[in-house]
Point group: C2
């Protein structure tokens, strides 16, 4: 069986659709590798062009600038996570199980998914953790938001918020809890790796601990609310 997963993103993210050409796919593939290796600040289109034996101008035909390319990658990641979550919660009855599945998918180190040829999900996961926030922490958030450039993140957030509401319809903050969960799954992992004293996962660096922390956090909030009301 040869399944090929293609994720289609908002057209405003690019000048020319990178999924529709060989060069485009090489740009995606190697931008992930290069950003992961040298970091987004040091990453330039010139360096990327050198890596894939094309020219700087060639890359500018696909993406307006490196910020847009990053946003493309980040959106791709959130779309992929939402897809995975929908897959894994299909046919699941219990809202509790759905939420636990979400936590597991978000907080577990990603392995490369072979069904998406040129995208290395493992590296992309690292990029989203260490660079992802830079895609919305800008002076043009609101303009980008109007252009729906954060839609994949919002969709994922809304999906998990649905699970939350299904679990406890009286809980007052399903969206905030959902965005907190998504953000913390990534940033606690980052802290565990780089600033462990901000966590309790010390140096054994066990991601299962993050899962337990998040489960306890989420269900603590959801179950106590049920009691209080």
């Amino acid at each position: 069986m040869d399944i090929n997963l293609t994720i289609t993103l908002n057209e405003k993210l690019y000048l020319r659709n990178p999924e529709e050409s060989e060069l485009g796919k090489r740009i995606l593939e190697h931008s992930i590798i290069l950003i992961e290796r040298i970091g987004f600040e040091a990453f330039t289109f010139k360096k990327l062009a050198f890596e894939i034996n094309t020219t700087e101008a060639g890359i500018y035909r696909y993406f307006e600038n490196k910020q847009r390319l990053l946003l493309y990658l980040v959106d791709w990641y959130w779309s992929w996570q939402e897809y995975r979550l929908m897959q894994e919660t299909r046919n699941v009855e219990q809202p509790k199980t759905k939420i636990m599945t979400a936590i597991r998918l978000l907080a577990t180190r990603v392995e490369d998914d072979i069904s998406t040829g040129h995208i290395n999900e493992k590296l992309l996961h690292d990029i989203v953790m260490s660079e992802g926030a830079k895609s919305w922490l800008t002076k043009h958030v609101e303009a980008d938001n109007k252009d729906k450039l954060f839609q994949p993140f919002k969709d994922l957030c809304a999906l998990i918020a649905e699970f939350i509401t299904a679990y406890n319809p009286r809980y007052a903050y399903p969206f905030s809890l959902s965005s907190t969960l998504i953000e913390m799954a990534h940033s606690q992992y980052y802290y565990m790796q780089h600033l462990p004293s901000l966590t309790d996962f010390g140096h054994h660096k066990d991601e299962d601990e993050i899962i337990r922390f998040l489960e306890q956090l989420v269900f603590g909030a959801l179950d106590s609310q049920a009691k209080e009301k």
Copy 2:
């Protein structure tokens, strides 16, 4: 009464201590104003120099680069928040009240504190929300961490973790809960302002709602744990 609050920070943050000269203080004052106005990406030492009628080279005598200056400002902010929190929890007996004070201080929009002449805390609060993460999301986090450049954040995190442990000694994740609380107090506020559909604070934009969300989150986690064990 003329109280003057001076916060002393890690010497590795700067080349020349900006608190010790008039020019240094003007750099701090106007970097806050300018970063808040144009954003960290567009901010340059040349533009700052123009604002305060000095030269680019003059600013480079104080800070190695703009990233270090940002880290200085962010560290200043966390030191100030820790100071405020210690002030406001002194003589408070109940751990629960201490935690609620922490939540209130972190999640309430800051007003300018006149006791610190050249620092506008209100603007600094905005900067920490929208640019703060960029100070640790770098390829040199670990080197910076070895140089203790994140100490103020860690200290604040540890202080709140103490309150948490005092409230419930059996809770397993005081540091992670503390860092989650600090981060969410800022990022839920940012979302409320710029990406409200990630929250439940819609468009009335009421920070008291964030406080209630955080209280319910934190005490939900802390109280349910007590039950389970």
